[in-house]
Structures are given as structure tokens and as C-alpha cells.
């Protein structure tokens, strides 16, 4: 079973629909006991960083999620704001501490070119830097995925970087470190390419 974490800040239904379409048994839940029985956990997220991390803490989810991220080492997938929560810290709205699973901080996208608009909204091309398994089967010249964000994650260890995109400068698009995978873009909203990425994650053997 795939646990889709529902803490009030995610498009949980869209994600559930995509996982269901791919044949995965997914459950929308905020019950830590479900995290224990789940094979994998997805942390979605749409909204403001500070409110989201506060909700995770208030609901008592930080401890059980962190245990699975760092100790039981369950495969976990963060999406958009869910990805950013993996970081140590975000500069959004005055600054907030994150879950600290990945040595990274979250900062606003600062394009050098005034014609480049923030938030980045729309389809952009991926440059794959690592974790090739996550992108296998994507058409090489047409690997666009859907982004909608103003902030992105900057990893301290460049080995954690799985893909970037260009939006007036390099923007972190995906990361991968052991059992932890995350994308700034929305695979559940990226049509064929996104479904393929989700499928690749579902099929990847993290113990190998």
C-alpha cells in the first residue's frame, strides 16, 4: 500500500487518482499506523512552507515520518512543497525549519532576466543529473513536466541532485538520496511524462 500523507496542504486526490490509474493501491491518510504498514509514502504539498510544516507538527506527523525517512528507510516521494519540506530550512515568509532529511535549504527563484516570470508556471524541460532510473523511458527531446512554484531547493551535496531545469538560471527539479526521492514539478499533473516518472518510482527496487 502507498500512503499519501494528508495534512491539509496537498492535492491528495489528484495524486491518488494518478496512483490508482497506474494500478497502485493508494490510501489517503494522516494516521501514523498506516505509515507503518505502508510499503511506500508520498508527501504531497501545495501552499506556504511555514503553514505546512506547522500542520505536520501539530498533527504529530513529524516524528513518525522522520522515523520512516531516516531509520526504517521506507521509499518516500516528496512533491512540490512536499519536496521542499525535506530540507533543513526555507527562506519563505521570514524563514522556517523543515524536516531536515536532506541537507538543503529552500530559496526563492531569482531569474537574472526580467522577462522571466516568477512564479514559474508551466511546462519546462528536464536536464537529468542523476537517478536515471526515475526518468527512464521519457522521450529525450520532449521530457517536459509541469512546474508551479516560486521557491526551490538548493542541495549542499550535489550528488543529491537528480534533475534541473532552466528558468532564468538553474532551478532544482528533482532530488534523490537513497530511499528519498522528490520532485519540484508535479508528476501527477504532467500527463504521460509524469505518469511514467511515478511508474518508475513505484517499480524501482530501493534495496538493490
Amino acid at each position: 500500500m502507498i500512503a499519501v500523507v494528508d495534512y491539509g496542504f496537498g492535492n491528495v486526490r489528484s495524486l491518488w487518482n494518478a496512483l490508482d490509474f497506474l494500478g497502485a493501491e493508494a490510501e489517503i491518510t494522516r494516521d501514523p499506523e498506516d505509515f507503518d504498514t505502508a510499503d511506500r509514502i508520498v508527501l504531497p504539498g501545495v501552499g506556504a512552507f511555514g503553514d505546512a510544516i506547522a500542520a505536520i507538527r501539530e498533527l504529530g506527523l513529524e516524528k513518525p515520518l522522520t522515523r520512516h525517512a531516516l531509520e526504517t528507510r521506507k521509499p518516500m516521494f516528496g512533491i512540490c512543497l512536499g519536496m521542499q519540506l525535506f530540507a533543513n530550512h526555507s527562506a519563505e515568509h521570514g524563514g522556517h525549519d523543515g524536516l531536515g532529511w536532506i541537507d538543503a535549504h529552500v530559496d526563492r527563484i531569482c531569474p537574472k532576466d526580467r522577462d522571466v516570470k516568477v512564479p514559474q508556471v508551466g511546462w519546462n524541460t528536464l536536464q537529468v543529473k542523476g537517478a536515471e532510473w526515475l526518468f527512464s523511458g521519457l522521450p529525450a527531446q520532449q521530457n517536459d513536466v509541469y512546474f508551479v512554484h516560486s521557491y526551490h531547493m538548493l542541495c549542499t551535496d550535489s550528488h543529491d541532485l537528480a534533475a534541473t531545469t532552466n528558468h532564468g538560471g538553474l532551478v532544482t527539479a528533482a532530488i534523490s538520496r537513497g530511499n528519498l526521492t522528490a520532485t519540484q514539478f508535479h508528476p501527477e499533473k504532467s500527463q504521460d511524462n509524469g505518469l511514467r516518472i511515478l511508474q518508475n518510482w513505484l517499480e524501482h527496487d530501493f534495496d538493490a
Binding site: S14, A48, V121, Q191
Partner: protein, 257 residues
């Protein structure tokens, strides 16, 4: 590089899609929202927008059942609008599968609502739409589906909504709606130069070249309604025309193709 977006915009009335001219005339039936969404998804359009035009006049909110059905069928981003005035309504629409919410009248009645919504759901989630019409006052902004004149002009209101933390600004010319006579290029040009946030140009598309003109004028995205519904121009044709004219557009097809 980020692609320019092509967005079909659908008006929902009584659970069906309709399309008229200048918000008031010549309404025509335009199909079932869910099956239409599926068709446009298969064309690989970049996003979709659904606006429930019954909602504000009837004091209701956009029909969430349609949103749920669409989100079950297509794995692509879509925006919904119509009668949204409360944070709880936005939360519900997002939970039902919408990615962004479009505010028109609510932003005019209470500009602070845009800011509160952006703080709660992130700027990127809030699209402010501006309905305007050419009057002796200039490009005058209207509330309530064109039924209520305001003191604002479109240009100034767009800048004010950007400051209020709208994630994107959509401009809809009531005079051009359904006319298929071309976008308001002058306003697109002036606004896209000033705005730091993406500008969505809406209303007026009638030919492939109209689409090119609006994107060349600086719009990040264009919406298309009548041209898709009542002419033989498909999104595939639009995309290939734009691409052969040097515009950076996506070339994939949709979910489960």
C-alpha cells in the same frame, strides 16, 4: 526553457459547457465538461480553465462534482473559478483536484481576500481574472460576469492584484469575448512589460495568427474558447503553427496516449 501555454477555457452552465458572445449573447451548447476535458487532454493542451458562470449570479460556488470527475479523467493541471469567496471553498476545490483557483468578483469586492488566499495556498495557486470593457472611462473593470461596473481600469487593477500576491493575472476583454477578432494586443504588451508574474491573455482568438500575436506581445499563456469549439482549429494545429513561427511551445500529447 519554460514553454508558452495554450489553455482552452470552458464556461460551465447547469453542468454543461456553453459559449456565448460578449458574456450575454448567442449562447451555444458546447458539450459535456468531463468528456471534453478528456479530448483536450489527448490533444496535449498545457492546462485547462473551467469557470462556472452560474455561481456568482446565483450566490453559489463552482460545482465540485465536475472538478472531481475531471481530475479522475485527466492528469494535467487545471484552474477553476466561479463564485469563490471563502478560503474553505478554495481548500475544497483543491482537495477535489483543482490546481489553481480563479478569482474575479471576489477580488473586486475584497482585495484582501486575494492576499489571504495567497498566504494560505501560495501565490501560485491564485489566478486573478480581470473582466473589462472599453468605455469612456478607458478599459473599465467589471464584476459579476460583466454585470457590474467598477471604478478600476484593467491596467491599474492588474498591477494592484500583482501586489496583492496573485500568482498569475488573466485579462478578459468582454468586447472581444466570442468575437474571434483577435486579442487586445496593446494591453497584453503594456502589462507583460510591467508585470513580474505571468500574464494569461484571454478572449479574441479566432485565427492561428491571433495566437501568435498575443504570445509575441508578451503573454505567458493564451486561452482559447470559440476557436476550438466552433472552428476546425485543434490544439495540435495551433501548436505546430506557433512552433513553426519560432515560439517555444510543447510538442507532447496528453495522458495515457
Amino acid at each position: 526553457m519554460l514553454k508558452k501555454r495554450i489553455i482552452p477555457k470552458f464556461l460551465v452552465h447547469g453542468g454543461r459547457l456553453i459559449k456565448g458572445v460578449r458574456f450575454t449573447e448567442n449562447w451555444r451548447e458546447a458539450g459535456n465538461p468531463v468528456s471534453t476535458a478528456r479530448v483536450y487532454d489527448s490533444y496535449g493542451v498545457d492546462e485547462m480553465i473551467f469557470v462556472d458562470i452560474d455561481a456568482t449570479p446565483n450566490g453559489g460556488v463552482v460545482d465540485g462534482r465536475i472538478i472531481e470527475r475531471v481530475s479522475e479523467e485527466v492528469f494535467m493541471p487545471f484552474t477553476v473559478g466561479g463564485g469563490v469567496t471563502k478560503l474553505e471553498q478554495i481548500e475544497k476545490l483543491l482537495a477535489q483536484g483543482a490546481d489553481k483557483v480563479c478569482l474575479t468578483t471576489a477580488a473586486l469586492r475584497d482585495p484582501g481576500f486575494v492576499t489571504r488566499a495567497a498566504q494560505r495556498f501560495g501565490d501560485q495557486c491564485i489566478v486573478v481574472n480581470i473582466d473589462y470593457s472599453d468605455t469612456p472611462e478607458g478599459r473599465q473593470v467589471f464584476a459579476a460576469c460583466g454585470g457590474e461596473a467598477t471604478k478600476h481600469t484593467a491596467f491599474d487593477w492588474a498591477l494592484r492584484m500583482e501586489d496583492a500576491h496573485a500568482g498569475e493575472i488573466m485579462i478578459t476583454s468582454i468586447d472581444r469575448d466570442g468575437s474571434m477578432s483577435g486579442y487586445d494586443l496593446d494591453l497584453i504588451h503594456r502589462l507583460s512589460e510591467r508585470l513580474e508574474k505571468p500574464l494569461i491573455a484571454s478572449s479574441g482568438a479566432g485565427s492561428l495568427d491571433h495566437c501568435r500575436q498575443a504570445l509575441d506581445a508578451g503573454a505567458s499563456a493564451i486561452t482559447i474558447s470559440s476557436m476550438f469549439i466552433f472552428s476546425d482549429h485543434s490544439p495540435i494545429k495551433v501548436r505546430s503553427y506557433l512552433s513553426s513561427n519560432g515560439l517555444n511551445v510543447r510538442s507532447q500529447t496528453g495522458s495515457r496516449s
